[in-house]
Symmetry: C2
Subunit: 195 residues, 2 copies
């Protein structure tokens, strides 16, 4: 005998369950049945909150994307030399990635099979482009080294930051978001050999 849990979900709390299932099974591999089992409520209860699986995906990746785009509106991203703005943005990207870990993880795994996924990829590309523009402006100022191609640098820096979702686990003994952000900023801007 199974007892259905009483539906005390809001769209937000339902979202956190859905994101976990999406990250475990992959979005394509997740059915409404899987979501219903993980949440412990019926499919029709889920439809009471959201219009379906793609609606949940849209809300989840929006949370990640809104967190990333909000960085560009912060004072530290609006004033100063491009290289310093870039440093602020890199630091905050790491912090947002860690504070919104499951949502950003999902965003980074989006494939492009549905309209929502293609929309998310498009917004991700917009964000990456904004960061690449900052890097170009810093290079034009002579504030970053000129002996590495900027497209390569963008790829490598995003590669380093995005790889954090593969190993970072929030846990009392591990590094905090701030410590990881410090490490990334020091490594990316000053390198291992130091200032």
């Amino acid at each position: 005998m199974t007892t259905a849990r009483r539906d005390t979900y809001t769209p937000e709390t339902l979202l956190s369950v859905a994101v976990q299932v999406f990250n475990q099974r992959g979005y394509d591999g997740t059915s409404m049945e899987h979501l219903s089992r993980a949440a412990g409520i019926s499919k029709s209860s889920i439809y009471h909150h959201v219009s379906g699986k793609e609606d949940l995906l849209r809300r989840a990746v929006s949370r990640a994307l809104d967190g990333l785009f909000a960085i560009l509106e912060e004072p530290g991203a609006r004033e100063g030399r491009p290289v310093d703005i870039l440093e602020h943005v890199v630091r905050r990207m790491v912090e947002v990635l860690i504070s919104e870990l499951p949502y950003v993880t999902l965003l980074l795994r989006v494939r492009g099979n549905t309209a929502t996924e293609r929309w998310a990829l498009e917004r991700r590309r917009d964000f990456d482009h904004r960061v690449a523009e900052l890097l170009k402006a810093a290079a034009a100022d002579g504030d970053v080294r000129a002996d590495v191609e900027m497209r390569l640098v963008t790829r490598l820096v995003f590669g380093m930051i995005n790889s954090i979702v593969e190993w970072y686990r929030p846990d009392a003994r591990g590094a905090t978001g701030r410590e990881v952000a410090d490490a990334v900023v020091r490594l990316v801007f000053s390198g291992l050999r130091g200032d």
Copy 2:
């Protein structure tokens, strides 16, 4: 009517077909039937060359692992200060990753569901450990910055290097392995702001 291609494979050429299929479908999602179709020869012809799917996986990840471990035997990895050895190893890791791209891609996606996968993960951990030891030795010499935790640095540098498999495509207009290796070494050791 289908015409079976004449079996002119060697274990090595069969391997390159298998690795492509593994990378596309995932190792778990690949059957001997998929391999037989991709190679255009019968399953029994495949069994003539190798003992099965797991044998192909073992050969493929061995090729990647042997390439990585061979770096540690190179003269540049055996003499000099640890920080310079580390720089040599990082450069060569990028070059090997790019010259053996499909094999390293497969290695990085191994999950651990079979004995062969667990063996591959174990050897990968050995390799990562050897690199982490070099970093520690360089830190003990005072040759790398002391204000970032070495475990974090190891994760981030491997994250940057391993992310290359996600975007690097060998193509006449793109960066060569050497250019990507130069960019990684400059970024990791001297940082964006330059020497």
